[in-house]
Each structure stands twice: as C-alpha cells, then as structure tokens.
Symmetry: D2
Subunit: 320 residues, 4 copies
C-alpha cells in the first residue's frame, strides 16, 4: 500500500477546493497514509514546493473559498522535461501517488504523469461544470448561488424600473451555470452555447412581456456565447427597449462553499484517496445519479459534458 | 383533459414552496389549464378560500421564502365531513384536480381526497427531508445552508475560545439535516436518531481532541434525539469541558431558497401538473438519482426515508 | 394640521426606500394623518396614479429591496405644465403635502412644487451618498456591504492566483462608495474623483507589493473616474502585471437593506412626516453627527457633499 | 517615541477584532513602530505568548470573524502578581505600550497595568454596545445584521402561519442590540432592561394586532431582561396565542464583519496607535457623533452607556 501521497490544486480555482483538500488529508491520515501538500499547482510540483500536512493543516478551512494550496498555470509543465522534473521531485520526497484537484486542463497533466508511470487521480474542481463523467463539479453550486443572488439583487431594482437586464455568467464553453442560474433566477431568456435560440425569438418574447405589462425582463447569457455588452446593444437596437448589462466576472469564483459543494468535495476527495490506496492510476472521480463513480481520465478527456435537456425545455415553458 | 386545477401549501412551510407554486401556475397556463390558488392549506380549502391565479400572481416570488398561499393545520379536515366539504368547494369552483405541496401529514390529506374520488398529486416540501421516494425534499438544501452558516459563525467565535459548541437542528425524527450539516460544517460529532453512537465515544473523541490542542469542538445534534441543552449538560458533567448550546429553531424554515431548491421546486411543480393533466391521481412526485419519479402516495406513506450510510461513515472518518 | 399627505420614490432606487415608505405611512397614521402612495414617481403623480395606504400596505416590506411604489424618470414633469398637472392631481385627491424619497434630481422636483405653493419634504435615498446636508443617504450602507462582499469573493480567488483585480463601483460623481469599500475591503488603491492620485504612484505601489511577495492587489475605482476596463488596460501596459476587471453594475442597487439603512430610513421617514405636520415646506431631512437635521432644499442643492478626508488619508496609511 | 508596542484581544470576541488588529499593525509599521501580537489575551501576556507581527501577519484577515490572536479569560491576571508578571514579560520583549481590544472587563485590566506604570490604550470591541464614551463598539453592527437576518428568516415562516415569535438576543445588561434589531426588524415589541414596559401592554398590543388580522407578531427580547422561553410561556398563558422562541446564542458573535465594523475597527485601531505614539496612557478610543474621541479609562468605567431614547420612542410609534 502507498505510504505517502501528494495533493495539489490547479487551474482556475473554485469554492470547495479547500474542503476537498481537507478530505484528502483526513481520509489519508485515517488510513495511516501521509500527505504532502503541493503549493502553486504543477509549477510548485516541479520546484519541489511541498510539505507534509497534518490534521491541524486543514483545521478551519472547510468554510473557506479559494485554495490554501494556491493555484497556478505552468507552461513549462507541458513539456516532457517539466513532467520529468515533477516526478523526480515527488520521488525525492517519497511520494507515491498524486491527487490533482482542478479542471480538464489539469487532468491533462495528471494523464501525462500517469503515462510516465506516476499514478495520479483527478478530482473535478471548477465552477464551469464542464467535465464529462460527473453530474457536478466542485464549485458549481456555490458559483450558481452567487449568480442567483446577483440576479435577485438586480430583480429588486428591476421591479422598480422598467428595463431589460442582461447578466453575463462565466462557464467558458459550457452553458450549465447560465442554464441553472436562469431557471432558478426566473429569467425570461437563457442564452447558452449548446442551444441556438433565434435572436428574433428572444426579442419577440421581450416585446410580448413588455406589452403584457411586465415590470422587467432578465436575460442570462453564458460567456461562451459572446459579450453581454454586445448582446445588450443588439437587443436595444432591435426592440428599442432599454437594456442594462452586468458582467459578474471573478466574484463567481469566490465565496464560502455551499453545503452541496462541501459535501461533494468531501466525498470526492475521500474517494480519490481510496482509489490511490487501492492501486488505481489515471482515473477521475465523479458523481453521477447521486453515486460516486470513477472513469479513466483518457475517456473523460475525449467526452463532452452535456446540459440537461429537460431543464432547458422546462425553462422555456416556465418563462412564457 | 382537466381544464382547472387547484394548488395549496400545507403543514410546516419550507423555502422553495413559492417557486413550486410558480412552476405549477406557469406550467399549467403553458398547457392552457387554469389554476386556483387555495390559501391556508386544507383549512382554506374547506372554506372555499381560493381564487384564480395568472402569470402576474407568481411574478417575483421565485426568490421569496415562505409561501404566498400561506399554510395552516386543520383538525376539521381530518374528518370525513371536512374532506367532503373540501371536495364540494372544489367542485363548486370547477376544479378537477389538486396539487398539495407539503410533508407526509399533508400527503395523508391528499390520499383521503383521492380515495373519495378527487385526484390529488403530492409535491414533497419540507426542510426535514424525511419523505420516502425522493432523495431530496424542497426546502432541505436552503435549511442546510442556513445551518452551516450558523455553524460557520459559531466556528469564528469557537476559534477564539476553547469550548465545545452544540448546535441543535430541526428535522423531526429524521437525521438528514444534522448529518449533512455536520459533514459540511466539519463537526466533530453528529448525533442523529438513526444511529446510536455510544455517549462515551462522543466524550472520548472530545477529550482526545482537547488534549491534541484542538481550539474547539462542534457537535451537531438532531432534535429527534432530544434536547441540545440536556446533551450539553451531560457532556459537561462527563468531560468537565465547557459547553455552549445554540437552538436554531425557526430560522431554519425561512430565507430565500437556494438554487438547488428553486430548481427542484420548479421541476417537481411542473411534473405534478403533467401528472394531473395525464389523468393520474394519488401520486407523489420526487427526485431519485437525479431523475424525476412518481410513486403511489400509499406506498410513500408506508415507507421510511433512510439516511445515506456512506455519508455517515465518511463523517466519522473525516472527524478523527 | 394636514389631514392627508402623499409619498413617492423617484430617481434611481436604493435599498431602504421600502422601510422609509413604511415609516412615513406608520408615523402618519400614528398622528391620524392619511397617506396616499404615488406609483412611478413624478410621472405617476401627474397621471394621478395614487391610492390610500394603510398599515397592511406596508406589512412585511421593511426587509425588501427596491421600492413598492416603483420609480420612474419623467421629462414632462420638468415643465411648468407638468408640475401644474401634478399639483392639480394632488388637490383633487385632497393631498396637502408630499414626501419625496430620492436623490438630488428628485429634490429639484420637490423644490419646484414647493415654489408653486405645494409643500414638499425631501428624504435622501440613493446609494451614491452624494447629497449635501446628510452624512449618509438611505441605501449607501447596503450598497457598501454588497461591494465589500464582492471584494471578499474576489479576494478568495485573488489569494489563489497572483493578479491585480480592479473593482468598478457606482457612485456617479461621488467617491464615497469606492472610498468606504476600499477601506473596508482592504484595497491597495482607491481611485475617486475627489482626489487625483498620480497614476504612477498607483503603479509603483502595485509593483512594490508584487516584489514584496503579495499574493494579489485590489484596486477599487469609482465610476466617476472613468472605465474600470480602461484603467486595467493602462495598468497592464505600464506594469506588465496581469489585471482582471469586475464591473458590479446594478447589483449594487438591490438587496435587502442592512440594519443601518433600515434604521436611517425609519428615522428620516418619520422625521419628514413630523416636518410636514408642523407646517414645513421645501426642506430635506438628514443625519449629521448622529443627529437628525433638516435644511432648506435650495441650500442643499447649492452645496456639495464632501468625502471624509481622514478616512482617505487612513486608507493610504493602512495600504502600505 | 515608543519603538515597540503590543496588541491583544480579550474577553468575548467580536467581529471586527481582526480589522482592528490589522489597523494597529499597519498603522504602527507606517510610523516605524514594531508590533508584537499577544495570543490568548491577558493569560498569554503573563505567559509571554507573543511574537512580532509584520504586514504579512495581517494579510487577508480584514474580512474574517473572530480574532487571529485568540481570546481568553484569566483569573490569575486579576491579582497583583499576575499583572506584575505581565509587565515583566512585556519589558523582557522590549514592549513599551499595549493596545487592548475588548470590553469593559478587559479595560479594567488595562487600567491596572497603566496604574502600575505600563501605558495601555483600550479599543472597544464587543457586540453588546455597552461601553460609555463611544456611540458604537466594534462588532455591534455585524451582530445587529446577524440578528435581523434571523428575524427576516423567522418572518418568512411567520407570514405563513399565525403565531407570535420571540427572538432572544445577546447584549448582557444592555438593550442596544435588541432595540436596534427590533426597530430594523419591524418588531411589534422590544423588551429591554433599560425600559420597563408593562407586561400587560405587550399582551394588549399582540391581541390587538391579532384581531386586526395580522399574520404574525415578532417580539425582540434582550437577554438582560430574562429568558425568552419563560417570556414566551407567560405570553401564551396570558393571551392564549401560540408562541415560538428562538435563542440566537453564539451565532451573534461570529460572521464576517460588516463594512461599518471594518471601518470603525480600522479607525479606532489606528487612533490607538497614535495615542500610544504620542505618549498617552490609560485612555480608551471611541467614536461619538461621527468623530474620533478618547477618554480616561477610569471615567469610562464609572459611566453607563445609554440607549437612544428617540429610537425607542420611534419604535413604539412605528409598531402601532
């Protein structure tokens, strides 16, 4: 059985990375496995920026946003030499397996290390919810609640004036954050990369609502579709309705993780330790239909995360 | 096809009842079905306290706690006469089916009406998460986040003094709220009705943590187990550690619903309308393994909701 | 003594307008004075869009963002004819005095009506805190807490990456919101219209912090100074540091009012009723050095609100 | 001029102690004065539990609840020997002055040290707002917002059922927290130690509201008056109305400090450093009528903090 493992966070950070780190450390110690925390992701890995963690290292972090191990992007690690350096550092520290918390970019690194003979397990942590093989990624629920809180605030002022508000959410090429936020925020229209809604339909719906005496309209737009500001301009031009745009930006990445994200992070972090202990390598843990699952990282990277079609259709029906 | 349906909320209220009402109204109107909103639950039903709802009736309620239809308990409705009165009122108003949002007590009423020939569909709305046939009830996620926010606050002061804090949560006879809150709040011990943890084990864990230099310990206790105050006294007597007790009480019932609760409420509310439209009766909608399901209410009422054993075990491992 | 008064909200809405309306209504009823609520500001006033309010009209609104009376801007009201129409409508409804909750634009309207013989009292409600004669306007404290919550979230992700974050706040030509948010958010630099900080100094401070190993830098910039995006570009060009910009926009206008805003709104609303009852006209109520005050609106409109110089200097000293 | 000062937090902790510590450290360093942070209050002081702080020591703490220096109570320090030990420890570390952040109990210690020739400055930090010589103490605004958030949640469920809710707040012998929370929470009755409202009046008001069709009534009761549970029993017995009691307890002590508390903490912490630098001793800093002030600690300890009578009267008028 492995005696010592490493853990790092990589790529864009997400709320819930800290409870994931906490679960990794505590679950490992529970099984008498030592844990080294690597700072600044793969960059720190190559530089040997790592140290032993104990129960106290993860005390009072379950509620903290961000990641106590910091994150970074590294060009050097994409090279063979970089990956070799990383493996050497881990061997030097007696580390026999690595848990990587991050998104698909980070998993590509985990895959490379595994291919070079060093066992890695991936834990999906990103607010974008754009990873195949898991219904939810760590950070998605928190970001989602941040977005709907913003929508609720805009709605307060929206009920006082008669305007169209456009909220641009993160999500890279994925529409999950915008879809869930739009449905739970009661948006009139949800514009996401996965679905091409004719621009004219969006405008017609706005005008119809306006004529019915609606106090306001809210449109949630995923960044993957394009700029909220430009979309607002187009709408104004077409409908002559006044528009206001809010680009939420990086506030979506922060905040204390929600209960769902803490539970998910705890479960996935612990599961990753189990996999390493049991001799697995090159796998990603996830949750599907409420059950913990794990897949080959290669498979995950070749697949696409899909939106929930029923929810998209429901959002259409409820926003008549 | 039905032309007119009713909707009411009953029993203890829960955050998310409003988005459920909204979904019922909008989904019905989408299918050209009229909706009557009944105020004050079954009591209002017997008294004919109901009126037609339109899109505007459910405007800007998706983010509101409580229920715009109010709730009430009614002894009279438990009698045959009461149920007969309710059916007469609905017939008088041309209502052909009823959607009941509430907990198991409310479902018993729905079952009675269905048995008397009036089709009802139940939508599980309670913070207790104690209904069989659904992984989650509407309101659970919001209450859970309210509890962990309270734990986080206590933790702030707990890191400044050296004490044992006991948080008593709601949940009636179910331990879900305490279990999820304990796991996501990083509690040292979780005391729930479904599991008998020897009192001595809880004390030993506390003393061990104290000796290890832990700044504080947090115990989450479900109300179904007994009084938090009494538990605190027992611990103090046994361990000589100072204890502080917080009884969260009714704040767990309020607050703006979380994204998860709004999405769940929207999906279940819409599904209930579909069932009524398709001629179903005496069924409860739910979500299991991320899929919408529906069951015979009789079956639901004869079964017990179970806690997630894996999560309970995980909480033990992570709180070493 | 007056027997019937009117109340309206005008201009950009602000959290706390609802508790102000509530205080006006309840204080008036306490003194046996009737209150008519005017919808959509001066526009509604001209159109006679008003109705009697009772205790129930303001039930459960103390915690609500926005304004239940809605707000609007009106070009027509700026004309003599418009003002005359408004006065006629009020006379028709037996209204003898008007309370206007809003910013300086709204007070100009109140001034005009008073000059035409119709007594008005202004209550300062705007998130911008840009009104002379009062230390705080209703809505400022809530908007401020919204901004620092956003800064806190950005800080979470900022501690995980090494970047410079720029937060653009509202405030029109005033720097109060940015100053208070910067001081309470622990920003490295605060850029406001009232103070010209040499651009080179801002850059030097950033570079110095970066060299000292600072994980991140946060700059709060008031919209009155210019675009956050452009500022970010300039910094990047000058310092070569990576920058990220968040434009908070309309979320600053919403949200449940804070305790300070509710208390301030309650006190100012009640005071305005007292002034009307006692035969005053053309005055604005405010709070200065913790005491309720009132000034001639003409005087208020001729003066400028100033930032607190001590706080600005303190922010410099603490951000070394 | 002093070259090295110490800072500690003592007594019950309060949100805002961290930004106060941060301001002390940064302001001192700005003036080239070294700062030693003392852990666990006076207990740590006697034990020499202190170490030098730099800019990094107070990085990212401005938003954190609790106190990074921890707090403790100490019986030993109340003796002459204890105080002598503390002074010896400070001399040993070259510390020439001490800043004590806490409540009146903590100030008594500061007074003793000053009398023994060691200059101390007090900074009022307590959620109770029960210190003379300052309009507000650090932590009060945050605790106040925590209470009204709880009231808002209870109100959600209160609008769904017809009940009387009793909220018991902290505040020791002071009624400020209950008064401000009651006024900003829209409570029907506010029961505080400073005012004896006849019990019968409270009951009459409840019954009157109930008869008028009020959906709910909220009573805010300061812990200094007695137990909320007992009060609830008395009301039920007298009026036959159903009552529900929530004892908020320690959640009032935690949470991220509000903007007001962060600004107040920053200003008072910096002011305390100025006083020490300028050779003062035995003084407490405070804010009165928006201006920074300082008083002799002896004077402060001999005076009583008073509630704002106007606000109390206003609360009566608005809760008709």
């Amino acid at each position: 059985m492995v005696k010592r493992i490493g853990v790092l966070t990589s790529g864009g950070d997400a709320p819930g990375m800290n409870p994931a780190i906490r679960a990794v450390v505590r679950k490992a110690i529970y099984h008498d496995v030592e844990v080294y925390g690597v700072k600044y992701g793969y960059q720190g890995l190559m530089e040997g920026n790592m140290s032993k963690m104990d129960l106290g290292s993860v005390g009072d972090i379950i509620q903290r946003g961000g990641t106590i191990l910091y994150s970074a992007r590294s060009e050097e690690f994409k090279t063979d030499e970089g990956q070799q350096r990383a493996i050497e550092q881990m061997k030097k520290h007696g580390i026999e397996g690595l848990i990587v918390i991050g998104g698909d970019g980070s998993f590509r690194g985990a895959k490379k290390l595994t291919e070079k003979g060093f066992p890695c397990i991936g834990v999906p942590g990103t607010i974008d919810n754009d990873i195949a093989g898991t219904d939810f990624t760590i950070g998605f629920d928190t970001a989602l609640n941040t977005v709907i809180e913003a929508i609720d605030r805009v709605r307060d002022t929206a009920t006082s004036h008669e305007r169209t508000y456009i909220i641009e959410t993160m999500g890279r090429n994925a529409g999950d954050l915008a879809l869930w936020a739009g449905l739970s925020g009661g948006a009139e229209s949800i514009i996401i990369p996965e679905k091409e809604e004719p621009f004219q339909d969006v405008c017609d719906r706005l005008v119809r609502g306006h004529q019915r005496g609606k106090k306001h309209s809210i449109i949630v737009l995923a960044e993957g579709v394009g700029s909220g500001f430009e979309y607002g301009e187009r709408i104004k031009k077409e409908t002559n309705l006044e528009t206001r745009v809010t680009v939420l930006g990086y506030i979506q990445r922060g905040g204390s993780p929600t209960a769902q994200d803490r539970v998910l992070a705890s479960r996935l972090g612990a599961k990753a330790v189990e996999l390493l202990i049991n001799g697995n390598a090159g796998r990603m843990v996830g949750i599907q239909n409420n059950k913990l699952v794990d897949y080959d990282i290669n498979e995950i990277l070749s697949l696409k995360h899909h939106i929930n079609e029923d929810m998209y259709n429901l959002s259409k029906e409820l926003s008549i």
